[in-house]
Amino acid sequence: MGGHADEGKGSVSRRGFLKSAGVAAAATSLIDDAKKAMEPVGPAPAAAVRGETEIRFKLNGKETVAKVPPSMTLLELLRERLDMTGTKQVCDRGACGACTVHLDGRTVNSCLLLAMDATGRDVTTVEGLAVGDRLHPVQQGFVEEDAMQCGFCTPGMVMSCAALLAKNPAPTRAECAEGISGNICRCGTYLNIFRAMDRASALAKGGK
Protein backbone atom coordinates (compact mmCIF):
# COMPACT_ATOMS: atom_id res chain seq x y z
CA MET A 1 0.00 0.00 0.00
CA GLY A 2 1.73 3.20 -1.10
CA GLY A 3 0.68 6.82 -0.80
CA HIS A 4 -2.83 7.45 -1.97
CA ALA A 5 -3.11 9.32 -5.19
CA ASP A 6 -4.94 12.50 -4.33
CA GLU A 7 -2.95 15.38 -2.97
CA GLY A 8 -4.39 16.88 0.16
CA LYS A 9 -3.56 18.32 3.51
CA GLY A 10 -2.14 15.79 5.89
CA SER A 11 -3.84 15.27 9.20
CA VAL A 12 -2.57 17.84 11.68
CA SER A 13 -2.55 17.25 15.39
CA ARG A 14 -4.78 19.40 17.52
CA ARG A 15 -1.73 20.80 19.29
CA GLY A 16 0.08 21.48 16.02
CA PHE A 17 -2.99 23.13 14.60
CA LEU A 18 -3.46 25.43 17.58
CA LYS A 19 0.19 26.42 17.43
CA SER A 20 0.11 27.33 13.78
CA ALA A 21 -3.33 28.94 13.53
CA GLY A 22 -4.06 32.51 14.61
CA VAL A 23 -5.41 33.28 18.09
CA ALA A 24 -8.91 34.03 16.82
CA ALA A 25 -9.07 30.84 14.85
CA ALA A 26 -7.72 28.93 17.81
CA ALA A 27 -10.31 30.45 20.11
CA THR A 28 -13.11 29.52 17.70
CA SER A 29 -11.74 26.06 17.43
CA LEU A 30 -11.54 25.77 21.23
CA ILE A 31 -15.21 26.70 21.51
CA ASP A 32 -16.01 24.19 18.79
CA ASP A 33 -13.97 21.61 20.61
CA ALA A 34 -15.72 22.34 23.89
CA LYS A 35 -19.10 21.98 22.15
CA LYS A 36 -18.02 18.75 20.57
CA ALA A 37 -16.78 17.43 23.88
CA MET A 38 -20.34 17.55 25.21
CA GLU A 39 -21.52 15.23 22.45
CA PRO A 40 -20.50 11.58 22.28
CA VAL A 41 -17.88 11.93 19.51
CA GLY A 42 -15.06 9.66 18.43
CA PRO A 43 -11.77 9.19 20.22
CA ALA A 44 -9.03 11.87 20.12
CA PRO A 45 -6.68 11.63 17.12
CA ALA A 46 -3.22 10.18 17.51
CA ALA A 47 -0.32 12.46 18.45
CA ALA A 48 1.38 14.01 15.45
CA VAL A 49 4.36 16.26 14.78
CA ARG A 50 5.52 18.40 11.88
CA GLY A 51 8.65 20.46 11.28
CA GLU A 52 11.61 20.74 13.66
CA THR A 53 10.81 18.56 16.67
CA GLU A 54 12.83 17.88 19.79
CA ILE A 55 13.96 14.32 20.35
CA ARG A 56 15.93 12.73 23.17
CA PHE A 57 18.02 9.62 22.94
CA LYS A 58 21.24 8.16 24.28
CA LEU A 59 24.22 8.65 21.99
CA ASN A 60 27.37 6.76 22.97
CA GLY A 61 26.13 6.65 26.55
CA LYS A 62 25.27 10.38 26.76
CA GLU A 63 21.73 11.74 27.01
CA THR A 64 21.33 13.75 23.83
CA VAL A 65 18.72 16.31 22.81
CA ALA A 66 18.37 17.31 19.17
CA LYS A 67 15.88 19.04 16.92
CA VAL A 68 14.99 17.26 13.71
CA PRO A 69 12.28 17.37 11.05
CA PRO A 70 10.48 13.99 10.73
CA SER A 71 12.10 13.48 7.30
CA MET A 72 15.66 13.55 8.68
CA THR A 73 17.52 10.25 8.97
CA LEU A 74 19.71 9.40 11.93
CA LEU A 75 22.68 9.41 9.54
CA GLU A 76 21.97 13.03 8.54
CA LEU A 77 21.48 14.02 12.16
CA LEU A 78 24.80 12.46 13.19
CA ARG A 79 26.88 13.83 10.33
CA GLU A 80 25.27 17.18 9.64
CA ARG A 81 23.99 18.38 13.00
CA LEU A 82 25.97 16.56 15.69
CA ASP A 83 29.34 16.70 13.92
CA MET A 84 29.79 12.95 14.29
CA THR A 85 31.27 12.08 10.89
CA GLY A 86 32.68 8.67 11.80
CA THR A 87 29.54 7.03 10.44
CA LYS A 88 29.82 7.08 6.64
CA GLN A 89 27.27 7.69 3.92
CA VAL A 90 27.76 5.71 0.72
CA CYS A 91 24.60 4.33 -0.93
CA ASP A 92 22.09 6.03 1.38
CA ARG A 93 19.67 3.15 0.58
CA GLY A 94 20.47 0.29 2.99
CA ALA A 95 22.52 -1.46 0.32
CA CYS A 96 26.14 -1.16 1.56
CA GLY A 97 26.36 -1.02 5.38
CA ALA A 98 28.75 1.97 5.57
CA CYS A 99 26.28 3.79 7.83
CA THR A 100 25.93 0.92 10.35
CA VAL A 101 25.36 1.95 13.97
CA HIS A 102 24.01 0.04 16.97
CA LEU A 103 20.42 0.66 18.05
CA ASP A 104 19.91 -0.92 21.47
CA GLY A 105 22.91 -3.10 20.70
CA ARG A 106 21.75 -4.34 17.29
CA THR A 107 23.21 -3.23 13.96
CA VAL A 108 21.01 -1.01 11.79
CA ASN A 109 21.47 1.13 8.67
CA SER A 110 21.29 4.71 9.95
CA CYS A 111 20.51 5.92 6.40
CA LEU A 112 17.09 4.23 6.53
CA LEU A 113 16.33 5.05 10.17
CA LEU A 114 14.32 8.21 10.70
CA ALA A 115 16.05 10.13 13.50
CA MET A 116 12.73 10.45 15.31
CA ASP A 117 12.60 6.66 15.55
CA ALA A 118 15.71 6.78 17.75
CA THR A 119 13.66 8.57 20.41
CA GLY A 120 14.35 7.01 23.82
CA ARG A 121 16.74 4.46 22.32
CA ASP A 122 20.39 3.72 22.83
CA VAL A 123 22.56 4.60 19.81
CA THR A 124 26.24 3.67 19.55
CA THR A 125 28.43 4.93 16.71
CA VAL A 126 32.03 4.10 15.89
CA GLU A 127 33.04 7.12 18.02
CA GLY A 128 31.56 5.37 21.06
CA LEU A 129 33.58 2.15 20.97
CA ALA A 130 36.96 3.20 22.41
CA VAL A 131 37.25 3.77 26.13
CA GLY A 132 39.42 6.87 26.47
CA ASP A 133 42.63 6.09 24.58
CA ARG A 134 42.01 2.36 24.67
CA LEU A 135 40.69 1.06 21.38
CA HIS A 136 37.88 -1.48 21.30
CA PRO A 137 39.33 -4.99 20.62
CA VAL A 138 37.80 -4.90 17.11
CA GLN A 139 39.45 -1.55 16.36
CA GLN A 140 42.77 -2.82 17.72
CA GLY A 141 42.38 -5.96 15.60
CA PHE A 142 41.71 -3.86 12.48
CA VAL A 143 44.87 -1.80 13.14
CA GLU A 144 47.09 -4.80 13.81
CA GLU A 145 45.84 -6.85 10.86
CA ASP A 146 45.70 -3.91 8.43
CA ALA A 147 42.03 -4.63 7.74
CA MET A 148 41.39 -1.58 5.57
CA GLN A 149 42.47 0.07 2.35
CA CYS A 150 40.50 3.21 1.51
CA GLY A 151 38.77 2.89 4.88
CA PHE A 152 35.36 4.00 3.73
CA CYS A 153 33.57 0.79 4.73
CA THR A 154 35.63 0.49 7.92
CA PRO A 155 33.43 2.25 10.51
CA GLY A 156 30.43 0.18 9.39
CA MET A 157 32.49 -3.03 9.30
CA VAL A 158 33.82 -2.31 12.78
CA MET A 159 30.29 -1.80 14.11
CA SER A 160 29.10 -5.10 12.61
CA CYS A 161 32.15 -6.91 13.99
CA ALA A 162 31.69 -5.35 17.45
CA ALA A 163 28.02 -6.44 17.53
CA LEU A 164 29.03 -9.95 16.51
CA LEU A 165 31.77 -10.17 19.15
CA ALA A 166 29.37 -8.99 21.88
CA LYS A 167 27.04 -11.88 21.00
CA ASN A 168 29.65 -14.47 20.13
CA PRO A 169 33.09 -14.09 21.76
CA ALA A 170 34.80 -16.65 19.48
CA PRO A 171 33.11 -16.59 16.08
CA THR A 172 34.15 -19.02 13.34
CA ARG A 173 35.03 -17.80 9.83
CA ALA A 174 31.52 -18.68 8.66
CA GLU A 175 29.99 -16.78 11.56
CA CYS A 176 32.21 -13.78 10.79
CA ALA A 177 31.15 -13.90 7.13
CA GLU A 178 27.52 -13.95 8.23
CA GLY A 179 28.23 -11.15 10.73
CA ILE A 180 29.55 -8.81 8.05
CA SER A 181 27.11 -9.94 5.34
CA GLY A 182 25.43 -6.54 5.52
CA ASN A 183 28.64 -4.63 4.76
CA ILE A 184 30.32 -4.28 1.39
CA CYS A 185 34.03 -3.53 0.97
CA ARG A 186 34.87 -2.27 -2.51
CA CYS A 187 38.58 -2.73 -1.76
CA GLY A 188 38.10 -6.41 -0.91
CA THR A 189 39.72 -6.42 2.53
CA TYR A 190 37.55 -9.30 3.75
CA LEU A 191 40.39 -11.71 4.48
CA ASN A 192 42.14 -9.17 6.69
CA ILE A 193 38.85 -8.41 8.39
CA PHE A 194 38.52 -12.11 9.28
CA ARG A 195 42.05 -12.01 10.73
CA ALA A 196 41.20 -8.83 12.62
CA MET A 197 38.21 -10.61 14.11
CA ASP A 198 40.37 -13.53 15.26
CA ARG A 199 42.71 -10.99 16.83
CA ALA A 200 39.83 -9.07 18.43
CA SER A 201 38.42 -12.27 19.85
CA ALA A 202 41.82 -13.08 21.43
CA LEU A 203 42.22 -9.52 22.76
CA ALA A 204 38.73 -9.52 24.25
CA LYS A 205 39.56 -12.73 26.10
CA GLY A 206 42.62 -11.00 27.52
CA GLY A 207 45.07 -12.77 25.18
CA LYS A 208 48.13 -11.11 23.68
Binding site: H4, G10, A46, S71
Partner: protein
Protein backbone atom coordinates in the same frame (compact mmCIF):
# COMPACT_ATOMS: atom_id res chain seq x y z
CA UNK B 1 12.90 13.70 0.99
CA UNK B 2 9.80 15.86 1.12
CA UNK B 3 8.71 16.86 4.64
CA UNK B 4 5.62 15.27 6.14
CA UNK B 5 3.45 15.18 9.22
CA UNK B 6 4.54 12.27 11.40
CA UNK B 7 1.74 10.54 13.28
CA UNK B 8 2.69 8.59 16.40
CA UNK B 9 -0.29 6.34 17.20
CA UNK B 10 -0.39 4.38 20.45
CA UNK B 11 -2.14 1.38 18.92
CA UNK B 12 -3.38 -0.13 15.66
CA UNK B 13 -6.81 1.49 16.04
CA UNK B 14 -5.31 5.00 16.24
CA UNK B 15 -3.03 4.14 13.34
CA UNK B 16 -5.94 2.95 11.17
CA UNK B 17 -7.96 6.10 11.87
CA UNK B 18 -4.97 8.31 11.08
CA UNK B 19 -4.23 6.30 7.93
CA UNK B 20 -7.60 7.19 6.47
CA UNK B 21 -6.14 10.69 5.79
CA UNK B 22 -5.51 11.58 2.13
CA UNK B 23 -2.06 10.89 0.67
CA UNK B 24 -0.93 9.06 3.75
CA UNK B 25 1.60 6.23 4.07
CA UNK B 26 1.93 3.62 6.79
CA UNK B 27 5.45 3.01 7.98
CA UNK B 28 6.88 0.04 9.87
CA UNK B 29 10.66 0.29 10.13
CA UNK B 30 10.68 2.26 6.87
CA UNK B 31 13.38 0.19 5.18
CA UNK B 32 11.23 0.09 2.03
CA UNK B 33 9.16 3.27 2.45
CA UNK B 34 12.08 5.62 3.27
CA UNK B 35 13.94 4.32 0.22
CA UNK B 36 10.94 5.13 -2.01
CA UNK B 37 10.53 8.54 -0.38
CA UNK B 38 14.18 9.37 -1.05
CA UNK B 39 13.70 8.35 -4.69
CA UNK B 40 10.58 10.53 -4.88
CA UNK B 41 8.51 7.55 -6.03
CA UNK B 42 6.26 7.89 -2.97
CA UNK B 43 5.56 11.41 -1.67
CA UNK B 44 3.20 11.20 1.30
CA UNK B 45 1.98 14.30 3.18
CA UNK B 46 1.38 12.20 6.28
CA UNK B 47 3.33 9.20 7.54
CA UNK B 48 1.87 6.99 10.26
CA UNK B 49 4.60 5.40 12.36
CA UNK B 50 3.46 1.90 13.28
CA UNK B 51 6.46 1.41 15.58
CA UNK B 52 4.71 3.41 18.33
CA UNK B 53 1.61 1.17 18.16
CA UNK B 54 2.29 -1.20 21.04
CA UNK B 55 -0.18 -3.91 19.97
CA UNK B 56 1.76 -4.39 16.72
CA UNK B 57 4.68 -5.52 18.89
CA UNK B 58 2.80 -8.45 20.47
CA UNK B 59 5.36 -11.24 20.90
CA UNK B 60 5.68 -14.46 18.89
CA UNK B 61 3.53 -16.98 20.82
CA UNK B 62 1.36 -20.06 20.66
CA UNK B 63 -2.38 -19.45 20.93
CA UNK B 64 -5.15 -22.02 20.32
CA UNK B 65 -3.07 -24.19 18.03
CA UNK B 66 -1.70 -21.21 16.09
CA UNK B 67 1.49 -19.19 16.10
CA UNK B 68 0.60 -15.52 16.44
CA UNK B 69 2.82 -12.43 16.26
CA UNK B 70 2.45 -8.66 15.99
CA UNK B 71 2.78 -7.14 12.53
CA UNK B 72 5.82 -5.15 13.67
CA UNK B 73 7.80 -8.18 14.86
CA UNK B 74 11.14 -8.00 13.04
CA UNK B 75 12.59 -10.47 10.54
CA UNK B 76 15.46 -11.07 13.00
CA UNK B 77 12.98 -11.97 15.74
CA UNK B 78 11.29 -14.47 13.40
CA UNK B 79 14.65 -15.93 12.32
CA UNK B 80 15.83 -16.27 15.93
CA UNK B 81 12.56 -17.58 17.41
CA UNK B 82 13.00 -21.09 18.77
CA UNK B 83 9.26 -21.61 18.62
CA UNK B 84 9.12 -20.82 14.88
CA UNK B 85 12.32 -22.79 14.19
CA UNK B 86 10.63 -25.78 15.86
CA UNK B 87 7.18 -25.70 14.25
CA UNK B 88 7.88 -23.99 10.90
CA UNK B 89 11.61 -23.98 10.08
CA UNK B 90 10.79 -22.85 6.53
CA UNK B 91 9.52 -19.55 7.90
CA UNK B 92 12.63 -19.08 10.06
CA UNK B 93 14.78 -19.80 6.97
CA UNK B 94 12.83 -17.34 4.81
CA UNK B 95 13.35 -14.59 7.40
CA UNK B 96 17.01 -15.45 7.95
CA UNK B 97 17.78 -15.38 4.23
CA UNK B 98 16.17 -12.02 3.52
CA UNK B 99 18.32 -8.93 3.02
CA UNK B 100 21.15 -8.25 5.49
CA UNK B 101 21.53 -8.47 9.27
CA UNK B 102 21.00 -4.70 9.53
CA UNK B 103 17.74 -4.82 7.54
CA UNK B 104 16.50 -7.92 9.40
CA UNK B 105 17.13 -6.18 12.72
CA UNK B 106 14.55 -3.55 11.74
CA UNK B 107 12.35 -4.75 8.86
CA UNK B 108 8.93 -5.90 10.08
CA UNK B 109 6.82 -8.90 9.09
CA UNK B 110 3.90 -6.78 7.82
CA UNK B 111 6.30 -4.41 6.04
CA UNK B 112 7.99 -7.38 4.40
CA UNK B 113 4.66 -8.64 3.03
CA UNK B 114 3.62 -5.16 1.84
CA UNK B 115 7.01 -3.95 0.51
CA UNK B 116 6.66 -2.52 -2.98
CA UNK B 117 8.28 -4.31 -5.95
CA UNK B 118 11.95 -3.86 -6.85
CA UNK B 119 11.38 -3.33 -10.60
CA UNK B 120 13.99 -0.71 -11.49
CA UNK B 121 11.57 1.18 -13.70
CA UNK B 122 8.99 1.34 -10.93
CA UNK B 123 11.58 2.47 -8.36
CA UNK B 124 13.04 5.15 -10.59
CA UNK B 125 11.13 8.41 -10.51
CA UNK B 126 12.12 9.31 -14.09
CA UNK B 127 10.11 6.41 -15.59
CA UNK B 128 6.39 7.07 -15.68
CA UNK B 129 5.68 3.35 -15.87
CA UNK B 130 2.20 1.88 -15.94
CA UNK B 131 2.35 0.91 -12.27
CA UNK B 132 2.88 4.60 -11.48
CA UNK B 133 -0.04 5.66 -13.67
CA UNK B 134 1.87 5.94 -16.99
CA UNK B 135 1.21 4.22 -20.29
CA UNK B 136 4.09 1.80 -20.65
CA UNK B 137 5.63 -1.14 -18.86
CA UNK B 138 9.27 -0.42 -19.73
CA UNK B 139 10.38 -3.94 -18.83
CA UNK B 140 8.63 -5.39 -21.89
CA UNK B 141 11.12 -3.83 -24.34
CA UNK B 142 13.78 -2.96 -21.79
CA UNK B 143 16.06 -4.63 -19.28
CA UNK B 144 14.12 -7.53 -17.80
CA UNK B 145 16.70 -9.81 -16.23
CA UNK B 146 14.97 -9.78 -12.84
CA UNK B 147 11.38 -9.66 -14.07
CA UNK B 148 8.55 -12.19 -14.21
CA UNK B 149 8.50 -15.39 -16.28
CA UNK B 150 4.87 -16.17 -15.39
CA UNK B 151 1.79 -13.95 -15.74
CA UNK B 152 3.96 -11.27 -17.37
CA UNK B 153 1.33 -9.53 -19.43
CA UNK B 154 0.68 -5.94 -18.39
CA UNK B 155 3.27 -5.38 -15.67
CA UNK B 156 6.21 -7.68 -15.13
CA UNK B 157 7.14 -7.08 -11.50
CA UNK B 158 8.00 -10.06 -9.32
CA UNK B 159 6.75 -10.30 -5.78
CA UNK B 160 9.73 -9.38 -3.58
CA UNK B 161 8.77 -10.76 -0.15
CA UNK B 162 10.54 -13.80 1.31
CA UNK B 163 7.79 -14.29 3.88
CA UNK B 164 4.90 -14.23 1.39
CA UNK B 165 5.27 -17.71 -0.17
CA UNK B 166 6.01 -19.52 3.09
CA UNK B 167 3.20 -17.84 5.01
CA UNK B 168 0.86 -18.80 2.15
CA UNK B 169 2.04 -22.42 2.26
CA UNK B 170 1.52 -22.48 6.03
CA UNK B 171 -2.09 -21.29 5.55
CA UNK B 172 -1.33 -17.96 7.24
CA UNK B 173 -3.83 -15.26 8.14
CA UNK B 174 -3.44 -11.49 8.40
CA UNK B 175 -5.40 -9.92 11.24
CA UNK B 176 -6.30 -6.50 9.96
CA UNK B 177 -8.06 -3.50 11.50
CA UNK B 178 -10.04 -1.10 9.32
CA UNK B 179 -11.12 2.45 10.16
CA UNK B 180 -14.78 3.09 9.33
CA UNK B 181 -15.35 6.68 10.41
CA UNK B 182 -14.25 6.67 14.03
CA UNK B 183 -15.03 2.96 14.40
CA UNK B 184 -12.25 0.46 13.94
CA UNK B 185 -13.30 -2.99 12.77
CA UNK B 186 -11.15 -6.15 12.93
CA UNK B 187 -11.16 -8.67 10.09
CA UNK B 188 -9.10 -11.61 8.88
CA UNK B 189 -7.54 -12.03 5.44
CA UNK B 190 -6.06 -15.37 4.32
CA UNK B 191 -2.56 -14.80 2.94
CA UNK B 192 -3.57 -16.62 -0.28
CA UNK B 193 -6.38 -14.08 -0.85
CA UNK B 194 -4.19 -11.06 -0.07
CA UNK B 195 -2.55 -10.51 -3.46
CA UNK B 196 -3.74 -8.36 -6.34
CA UNK B 197 -2.67 -9.18 -9.91
CA UNK B 198 -1.69 -6.29 -12.20
CA UNK B 199 -4.66 -7.13 -14.44
CA UNK B 200 -6.99 -6.54 -11.49
CA UNK B 201 -5.34 -3.29 -10.34
CA UNK B 202 -1.94 -2.34 -11.67
CA UNK B 203 -1.34 0.29 -8.97
CA UNK B 204 -1.09 -2.09 -6.02
CA UNK B 205 0.07 -5.57 -5.04
CA UNK B 206 -2.39 -6.40 -2.26
CA UNK B 207 -5.98 -5.74 -1.28
CA UNK B 208 -5.32 -3.30 1.58
CA UNK B 209 -6.94 0.10 1.18
CA UNK B 210 -6.47 3.41 3.02
CA UNK B 211 -7.28 3.07 6.71
CA UNK B 212 -6.29 -0.60 7.01
CA UNK B 213 -3.45 -1.84 9.19
CA UNK B 214 -2.10 -5.38 9.65
CA UNK B 215 -2.16 -5.75 13.40
CA UNK B 216 -1.09 -9.37 13.72
CA UNK B 217 -0.08 -12.32 11.56
CA UNK B 218 -0.73 -15.97 12.42
CA UNK B 219 -0.65 -19.49 11.02
CA UNK B 220 -1.85 -22.88 12.27
CA UNK B 221 0.85 -25.07 13.81
CA UNK B 222 1.53 -27.77 11.20
CA UNK B 223 0.84 -31.38 12.16
CA UNK B 224 3.73 -33.65 13.19
CA UNK B 225 3.66 -35.41 9.81
CA UNK B 226 3.99 -32.14 7.88
CA UNK B 227 7.31 -30.65 6.81
CA UNK B 228 7.72 -27.10 5.51
CA UNK B 229 10.58 -25.40 3.72
CA UNK B 230 11.67 -22.26 1.90
CA UNK B 231 14.45 -22.27 -0.70
CA UNK B 232 15.72 -19.43 -2.88
CA UNK B 233 18.45 -18.65 -5.40
CA UNK B 234 20.33 -15.34 -5.42
CA UNK B 235 23.14 -13.70 -7.35
CA UNK B 236 25.07 -12.73 -4.22
CA UNK B 237 25.02 -14.64 -0.94
CA UNK B 238 23.71 -11.53 0.83
CA UNK B 239 21.87 -8.26 0.06
CA UNK B 240 20.03 -9.55 -2.99
CA UNK B 241 16.38 -10.30 -3.38
CA UNK B 242 15.78 -13.84 -4.65
CA UNK B 243 16.01 -14.68 -8.36
CA UNK B 244 13.60 -17.58 -7.83
CA UNK B 245 12.09 -18.92 -4.62
CA UNK B 246 9.81 -21.74 -3.54
CA UNK B 247 8.00 -22.59 -0.33
CA UNK B 248 6.60 -26.07 0.19
CA UNK B 249 4.70 -28.06 2.79
CA UNK B 250 4.25 -31.82 2.48
CA UNK B 251 2.23 -34.10 4.73
CA UNK B 252 3.30 -37.74 4.57
CA UNK B 253 1.12 -40.69 5.55
CA UNK B 254 2.17 -44.32 5.18
CA UNK B 255 5.17 -43.31 3.07
CA UNK B 256 3.00 -41.41 0.57
CA UNK B 257 2.32 -37.70 0.08
CA UNK B 258 -1.09 -37.08 1.64
CA UNK B 259 -1.19 -33.38 0.87
CA UNK B 260 1.08 -30.81 -0.74
CA UNK B 261 1.24 -27.05 -0.89
CA UNK B 262 3.78 -25.48 -3.24
CA UNK B 263 4.13 -21.74 -3.86
CA UNK B 264 6.60 -20.08 -6.19
CA UNK B 265 7.74 -16.52 -5.71
CA UNK B 266 10.12 -14.02 -7.34
CA UNK B 267 8.90 -15.23 -10.76
CA UNK B 268 5.45 -13.61 -11.08
CA UNK B 269 3.70 -10.43 -9.91
CA UNK B 270 2.15 -12.38 -7.01
CA UNK B 271 3.10 -15.58 -5.18
CA UNK B 272 1.98 -18.49 -7.42
CA UNK B 273 0.21 -21.51 -5.95
CA UNK B 274 1.14 -24.54 -8.10
CA UNK B 275 -2.14 -26.41 -7.89
CA UNK B 276 -1.45 -28.77 -10.79
CA UNK B 277 1.88 -29.84 -9.29
CA UNK B 278 0.28 -30.30 -5.87
CA UNK B 279 -2.46 -32.59 -7.31
CA UNK B 280 0.15 -34.55 -9.24
CA UNK B 281 2.25 -35.12 -6.10
CA UNK B 282 -0.56 -36.43 -3.88
CA UNK B 283 -0.58 -40.21 -3.47
CA UNK B 284 3.00 -40.62 -4.71
CA UNK B 285 5.99 -41.72 -2.64
CA UNK B 286 8.60 -38.98 -2.14
CA UNK B 287 11.84 -39.48 -4.07
CA UNK B 288 14.49 -37.37 -5.71
CA UNK B 289 13.23 -38.43 -9.14
CA UNK B 290 9.69 -37.39 -8.24
CA UNK B 291 10.80 -33.97 -7.01
CA UNK B 292 12.98 -33.47 -10.07
CA UNK B 293 9.98 -34.12 -12.29
CA UNK B 294 7.86 -31.81 -10.12
CA UNK B 295 10.50 -29.10 -10.68
CA UNK B 296 10.16 -29.48 -14.45
CA UNK B 297 6.35 -29.49 -14.25
CA UNK B 298 6.50 -26.29 -12.21
CA UNK B 299 7.95 -24.46 -15.20
CA UNK B 300 5.06 -25.44 -17.53
CA UNK B 301 3.60 -22.39 -19.20
CA UNK B 302 6.51 -20.07 -18.44
CA UNK B 303 6.82 -17.12 -20.82
CA UNK B 304 10.34 -15.80 -20.37
CA UNK B 305 11.42 -12.47 -21.83
CA UNK B 306 14.69 -11.43 -23.49
CA UNK B 307 16.95 -11.54 -20.41
CA UNK B 308 15.30 -13.91 -17.95
CA UNK B 309 15.00 -17.41 -19.45
CA UNK B 310 17.62 -18.51 -16.91
CA UNK B 311 14.86 -18.28 -14.31
CA UNK B 312 13.18 -21.36 -15.82
CA UNK B 313 16.13 -23.57 -14.81
CA UNK B 314 16.37 -21.87 -11.42
CA UNK B 315 12.63 -22.40 -10.86
CA UNK B 316 12.98 -26.15 -11.36
CA UNK B 317 15.93 -26.10 -8.95
CA UNK B 318 14.13 -24.35 -6.09
CA UNK B 319 11.04 -26.54 -6.45
CA UNK B 320 13.09 -29.72 -6.29
CA UNK B 321 15.13 -28.49 -3.31
CA UNK B 322 12.10 -27.16 -1.41
CA UNK B 323 10.18 -30.44 -1.87
CA UNK B 324 13.19 -32.54 -0.79
CA UNK B 325 13.68 -30.40 2.33
CA UNK B 326 9.97 -30.52 3.20
CA UNK B 327 9.86 -34.31 2.74
CA UNK B 328 12.97 -34.79 4.90
CA UNK B 329 11.42 -32.69 7.64
CA UNK B 330 8.11 -34.56 7.38
CA UNK B 331 9.80 -37.96 7.71
CA UNK B 332 12.03 -36.70 10.50
CA UNK B 333 8.79 -35.89 12.33
CA UNK B 334 10.34 -32.49 12.06
CA UNK B 335 7.72 -30.11 10.63
Amino acid sequence: MKDFTYVLPKDAAEAARAAAAPNCALKGAGTDLVDRMKEGVTRPDTVVNLLTATDLRSPIREENGRIVMGGAITLAEVAESELIRKVAPGLADAAAEAATPQIRNRGTVAGNLCQRPRCWYFRNDTYACSKKGGETCYSIEGENKYHAIFENVTCNIVHPSNLAPILQVLGGTLHVVTAKGTDVVPSDIAVKDFWVRPEEDISRENILVAGQVIREVSFPIPRGTTGSSYVETREKASFDWALTSCAAALTLEGGKIASASVVLSSVAPTPLQLEAVEKWLVGKAPSDALFREAGTKATDGATPMRDNAYKITLTAVVVRRALSAAAARATGGGK
